[in-house]
Symmetry: C2
DNA sequence: CAGTATCCAGCTAGATACTG
DNA sequence: CAGTATCTAGCTGGATACTG
């Protein structure tokens, strides 16, 4: 009985792949920063509302206004996940009504610095990517 | 008639956000590299099968074997999108059966270099992220 | 060997309504 | 002000079968 089904073989290959993925830090980092709003929130907390200033705490409503278009659900969900991972700290001041502010931790600041490198590459090269894409589209269409 | 519905206001905010997203190079780059297999293919072509060598062309079947668990659909789809964006070149040699090899372009190599910076951050800090996450889980559960 | 075509499950994120 | 809860559309990616 040496026969294996395609399903079994795929399962084995997938298990091997999953094991690799599970220990690949780069992949985990991409999972962490590739949410639709993660980079934007990091940028807002790390560079201020104009994306060119210094890191500073921001309130929930301030983030909500700045990231026009984000739903309350996604803002809360993303902030919670960043807080969970120690990238953002959440501070509640018991005024009436309550005041909540969010701020990058040291780890979050470090990530924000790394993201600036990513941003630099993007600003230098993404135009070329999109020119290539447009050209390809015209060539094949 | 100055009244606007919630839907209209959201639409305006979303349009503003979309406009921002549409011109934000970083966001576009994240969209580009955050597919499940993009980073892995880039790493394979940029650092060889052992993820520690030099860039070299690889054949479709070689990539398929290396990235155990990837479906043919996703391998083809991801390679095509990378080719479309000028990050990977596709070379067909008309043997029988046909031989196809993929190689990073200069632009792709440049992206691969940037990804190594990302990888460095990941290897230095992702452990801390996951410790935080585990701690948070135990605190709230 | 190197694909293409089709169908489908699961997850992400948006809309909407409600609350301490 | 700063959330929570629910419902759902759409997109990503996997399984499977077929082909020049």
């Amino acid at each position: 009985m040496t026969a294996t089904t395609a399903t079994q073989r795929t399962a084995v290959a997938t298990a091997g792949y999953d094991a690799f993925m599970a220990i690949c830090p780069s992949q985990k980092l991409l999972d962490r920063i590739s949410g639709k709003w993660v980079a934007l929130i990091l940028a807002a907390l790390g560079s201020g509302p104009d994306c060119a200033g210094d890191p500073r705490p921001m309130r929930y409503s301030e983030l909500s206004r700045l990231l026009a278009g984000i739903s309350q659900k996604m803002l809360t969900q993303t902030l919670r996940s960043l807080e969970r991972d120690g990238l953002v700290s959440r501070t509640v001041t018991p005024t009436v009504p309550v005041t909540v502010s969010y701020e990058l931790t040291d780890l979050g600041l470090s990530l924000h610095q790394m993201m600036r490198g990513l941003k630099a590459w993007a600003e230098t090269h993404m135009d070329e990517v999109f020119v290539n894409r447009a050209t390809y589209e015209n060539t094949t269409a």
